[in-house]
Amino acid sequence: MADKVIKELTIKVWRQKNAKTAGKFETYKINDISGGTSFLEMLDILNEQLINDGQEPIAFDHDCREGICGMCSLFINGRAHGPDDDITTCQLHMRKFKEGETITIEPWRAGAFPVIKDLIVDRTAFEKVLQAGGYISVNTGGVPDGNAIPISQDDAEEAMDAAACIGCGACVATCKNSSAMLFVSAKVSHLAKLPQGRVEASRRAKNMVAKMDELGFGNCTNTGACEVECPKGISIANIARLNREFLAAKIKD
């Protein structure tokens, strides 16, 4: 079980000072990395090395390091969240890489997610879409008892499947159109599946889609690439549901 140690790796990483300057790839060597080291710990080690050499460390987003906050990103060797399935970058471990390998690391690339620095991008467009309707309009207090409205186990489970989205943006980064449909449809489905959320379902779909279009996310052409790279297994069936809700809203108009 003891993990092997990788003697040498070449890390090719996108460096960009800020949104205004152009970026480029830089190449670094890193040695003696245990396979049990997480990918982000490898970057921590590389950064320590850079600091000791008097260079600026590589900026990347991360926080929980448990695959739940959605803060980590990274396009690793051409794949969002790297070469493993159903995980986020922070859950990726170095045993997935080979001795002597060159690892290429890039930020999410999408018009709606401009680079802030190095590997950090601005994903606040997602928040704006949520603000346009990703909620149930209820104030604190004065709500019915939790058991007042029964919800079938199947509906609750389906709602939970969609609600598991961590808002990381891998779907947008993977999509050749930079579409945010998987993310938006996950929120719309989660709420539409519950009786509490039904009331506003079509209005919500309409407003969120309008916001998404306004913010420069691309159109969905059903390539299904997003579903493959989504770390939380969000299904493209949600996109079909979003389309239904959206159409229903249009018919009402």
């Binding site: 000791n52 390091r65 959605g70 149930i136 609750a156 609600a163």
Partner: protein
Amino acid sequence: MTVLNSKIPAGPLAEKWSKHKAAIKVVSPANKRKLDIIVVGTGLAGGSAAASLAEMGYNVKAFCYQDSGRRAHSIAAQGGINAAKNYQNDNDSIYRLFYDTIKGGDYRAREANVYRLAEVSGDIIDQCVAQGVPFAREYGGTLSNRSFGGVLVSRTFYARGQTGQQLLLGCYASMNRMIGQGKIEMHERNEMLDLVIVDGKARGIITRNLVTGEIERHGAHAVVIATGGYGNVFFLSTNAMGCNGGAAWQAYKNGAFFGNPCFVQIHPTCIPVHGEQQSKLTLMSESLRNDGRVWTPKKKEDAIKLQKGEMGPNDIADEDRDFYLERRYPSYGNLVPRDVASRAAKERCDAGFGVNAEGKAVYLDFKYSIERLGQDVIEARYGNLFQMYEKITDVDPYKEPMQIYPAIHYSMGGTWVDYNLMTTVPGLYAIGEANFSDHGGNRLGASALMQGLADGYFVLPYTIGDYLADEIQTPRIDLNHPEFDKKEKAVNERLQRLYNVKGSKSVDSFHKRLGNIMWDYVGMARNEEGLKYAIAEIAKIKEDFYNDVRIPGDFDAMNIELEKAGRVADFLELGDLMARDALNRNESCGGHYREESVTEEGEAKRDDDNFTYVSAWEYKGENQEPVLHKEDLVFETVELTQRSYK
């Protein structure tokens, strides 16, 4: 003589909150529109407070250091949230939840606060359901519960293994609705670095915009700190990488007393540290102890072979395994509370029976329950956790026992607050994990989420009105007031000082040094000698830090090393205060274990005669000894007993 006034209302326990609510002032809707409130933090506590206050009509400004409010560390909570709903008809009640929390906290929490927490717990569940939180359900469509953390009733509500995420997305959705309506002004990637006090009242904060590096001023009629816990003082913990004690520490330096800093919780089931390059520890849910048996080898020679990798756990016969929790605590066995399980693991490893290369791990074995129940049952219960474990360690827990070791998880201590959740600075409030209030010396599982949401949805929105009712004549806060100039300058100087050291070592290297000292001497077991040593060592690390830290990059731009340096500067001081508090509290109580205060069998021994108080520390200036104030805890309802799990 104490200067502390906890403002606990008079009257019978069960009537205190309703009588208090009836007595406190309210602000009219027209006046609410004229009042601004700053909420620092968007976790369950800050998020629920920001949304509720905005819905009531106040103008809210919310802050978080992540790129989105929904990424606060509350998102990582797995297990669930408690509420005294009695949906399972198992004779649960507000009183029972209150009693369990007081007892679980080893009698170091305020009765009145804890009773109120239990009282509003049911409303939280109703609120979350109304927001669309997809809690687990029974076939009949009603809400499911499970039992959690060694209590006798099933009162924990959950959404798969992602309860914190779903609750946070619920209150974040409410926030989003208010952001969309312009009632909340959201500031992401913006870190509070100082508190502004004008004429003795909290009137604003100084922040650093983490994208541009700009220092910003924000004013309000009241400030709410909801910045979470300070477990990262230990460097390695289950907290998110950015969790910090900074905002609470700045509040302390501005006159808010700090309550029970030495009370931190160590969680027994985390994935052990591997090597020296680790940055973060991962929690394995407490629920695993329901079906896993904890053991180390009986024979020293087996342990040595395991450490060298010369044999595996499956090579050790049943009779050579020491199920030490079952041996020491026959009635609770593997289900003893967190603090007891953690210390027992440390005891075995210190005695040389640890099972990994570092000698710092014990086994959690599912072999026996797989034999009894079948692999499919275990898979249905813990499948996702097993998968997570395998991704991290490359070991299949269906075939080989998990390795676990205790790690820092939660801080019961925090900013001291009165019954209204106001700190000792008028107009400054603290809620959620950031305050010290409800968990005493030890927190029960699934109670932190409850407390955060209780504070934010149902307590603070009322109690803050009592203060703000007297502020309706105060115009919008003037950001050009000399106090803002002074504090902005102070923040700039503090950061410049760090940036200009231009030394040779990274911020992390100092943080790791601090963490090692904290873990070894202010961790699971503490004694006078060790604590005094820790205080001296921390002072040395602090000196080295200010002489030799290296912060590359630009000062007035995004600079992650500078962010970290500011946090570590605060941790160095907070670590010192924790050690002082631990030194003062010469009793073993909850998560705080003093080797000088134990029974003959080596179990923790509380000293109620001398320590039935909250310690509240007052800052006296740079390199000055802080002053201890005591809030005596008066138990009108429960009788104090020693915990026993034998």
